[in-house]
C-alpha cells in the first residue's frame, strides 16, 4: 500500500522531468537551427527553396525528438528513434536529388556533385538506425531481466 502511494507520487514527477527534458531538447535544437541558419542565409538568395526545405526538416526532426523524449523509458522511444533515422535518410536522398544538386542563378547553371556527401551521410544515418535498434534490444532484454519471475 505504501509502495503504491510512493510510485503514484513519483509518476507525475517523472512526467514533469520528461516534459522539461523534451522542452529543453526542442529549444536547444531550435537554437541550433537559428545559429546554423545565420550561416546558411547567404545561400538562401541563390537557392530559392532552401529555407522551406530546411524548415520542414527541422520541424519534423524536432517533433520526433520531442515525442521520443516524452516517451523515454518505454519501447515507443525507440520506435520514434527509428522513425527519426529513417526520416533523416529519406529526406536527405529526396532533398539532395540523389546527390546531384543543380540550380540556376542569374543565367548560370550550377551543378554540384554531392553523391559522396550523401553516401557518407546515409551511412552515418544507417549506423544511427542500427544503434537505435541495438538500444531497443538492450531495453527489451533489460526489461526481461528485471521482470519478476
Amino acid at each position: 500500500m505504501v509502495e503504491d502511494e510512493k510510485s503514484s507520487a513519483i509518476r507525475p514527477r517523472k512526467l514533469i522531468v520528461r516534459v522539461l527534458r523534451a522542452t529543453i531538447k526542442g529549444l536547444l535544437f531550435f537554437a541550433l537551427y537559428y545559429v546554423c541558419w545565420l550561416f546558411l542565409a547567404p545561400f538562401a538568395k541563390m537557392i530559392p527553396d532552401l529555407q522551406q526545405t530546411v524548415q520542414i526538416f527541422v520541424r519534423v526532426y524536432i517533433c520526433l525528438v520531442v515525442v521520443g523524449e516524452l516517451t523515454a523509458g518505454t519501447i515507443y522511444q525507440h520506435f520514434f528513434g527509428v522513425a527519426n533515422d529513417l526520416f533523416v535518410i529519406s529526406y536527405l536522398i529526396l532533398s539532395l536529388n540523389s546527390g546531384m544538386f543543380s540550380m540556376t542563378y542569374q543565367n548560370v547553371a550550377l551543378e554540384v556533385d554531392l553523391r559522396l556527401f550523401l553516401m557518407i551521410a546515409t551511412m552515418l544515418s544507417f549506423i544511427g538506425l542500427s544503434k537505435t535498434i541495438l538500444q531497443a534490444i538492450n531495453f527489451v532484454s533489460k526489461k526481461a531481466e528485471n521482470a519478476p519471475t
Binding site: 550561416f39 547567404p42 545561400f43 543565367n107 548560370v108 547553371a109 550550377l110 551543378e111 554540384v112 556533385d113 554531392l114 559522396l116 556527401f117 557518407i120 551521410a121 552515418l124 549506423i127 544511427g128 542500427s130 544503434k131 541495438l134 538500444q135 534490444i137 538492450n138 532484454s141
Partner: protein, 259 residues
Amino acid sequence: MDIPIRMIDFATAACWIFLIVFCATAAYSIKDLRLDFGNSRMATTTDNRILVSFPLNIANNGYYDIRSFNFSTKLLGEDGSTITQGSTLIPTIGIGEKLSILHNLTLDVNDVMQSDQDFLFNDTQLNITESIGMVIGEVIPVEASGNISIPWGAPLYDLKLEKPQYIAVNYTQMQVIVSISFDNHAFFNVTGEVHLRMYNSANQLIGHGQSMVDAAQHSHFDGQIDLNVAVSSITQTGRFELDFQTPLFSFGSRVIQYG
C-alpha cells in the same frame, strides 16, 4: 551493452559534426570563389584562323585548394552541332591564390559558314557555351555553365552588284562592267579575289571575270569587275554567280539575278 552503444553514439556524432563542418566550409569556398570575366577579344592568327580570347581572373578566397579547374568554351552551330571548342586546365589553385588566365578559342571562318552563311552577310551574334568545372575540397565536383553572345560583324555586309553596264568592244564582243560594293563590318581586313560568272536566261555561262578586293576592317568597299561576253549570247535577264577567295575564308556561288 550500454558502453558500446554510447561509443557508437559518440563516434557517429563526431562524424556528423565533421561532415557538416566540411560541407559548410566547402559551400563557403564555392561562395567565396571570385571569377571575373573580362571582355572577350578577337584577333586573327598567322594560320588565318580567328582567335577569340577570354580573360579570366580567379581569386580563391575559400578554405580549400581547388583542383582540376577547367574552363571550356564551345561554339555551337544553328543545328546544335559543335563548330569549335577549347579548354584551359589549371591543375591546382591554392588557398588565397589569385590568377589571371587567357582562355583561347580558335575558329575557322569556313567552319562557321558551313553552319550558317548568314555570318558573312549579316551582323549577328556568336553564341558560345561556357563551362567551368572544378573539384573543391578534393571530393566535391562543381560545374557551372552559361551562355554568352559575342557580337559578330559581317565581312560582306550589304553585298550588292549594280546593274551591269555594256560597252561594245567590237561587233561580236562586249565588255560588261559590274560594280560591286559591300561594308566590311568584321574586325579583320577582307583581302582576296572575287570571281564573277555571268549566265544568260538559257542557263549558259557567257562570261567570267575576276578582281582584287581589299577592304579594311569597318570600311566600305566599292569596286568593279569586267567581263568579256559574246554579243549573241547576251539576254535581257540572267544571273551572276559570285565567288570570294580570301586567306580567312572562301565561299562560292552567291547567286544574284540581273535584268
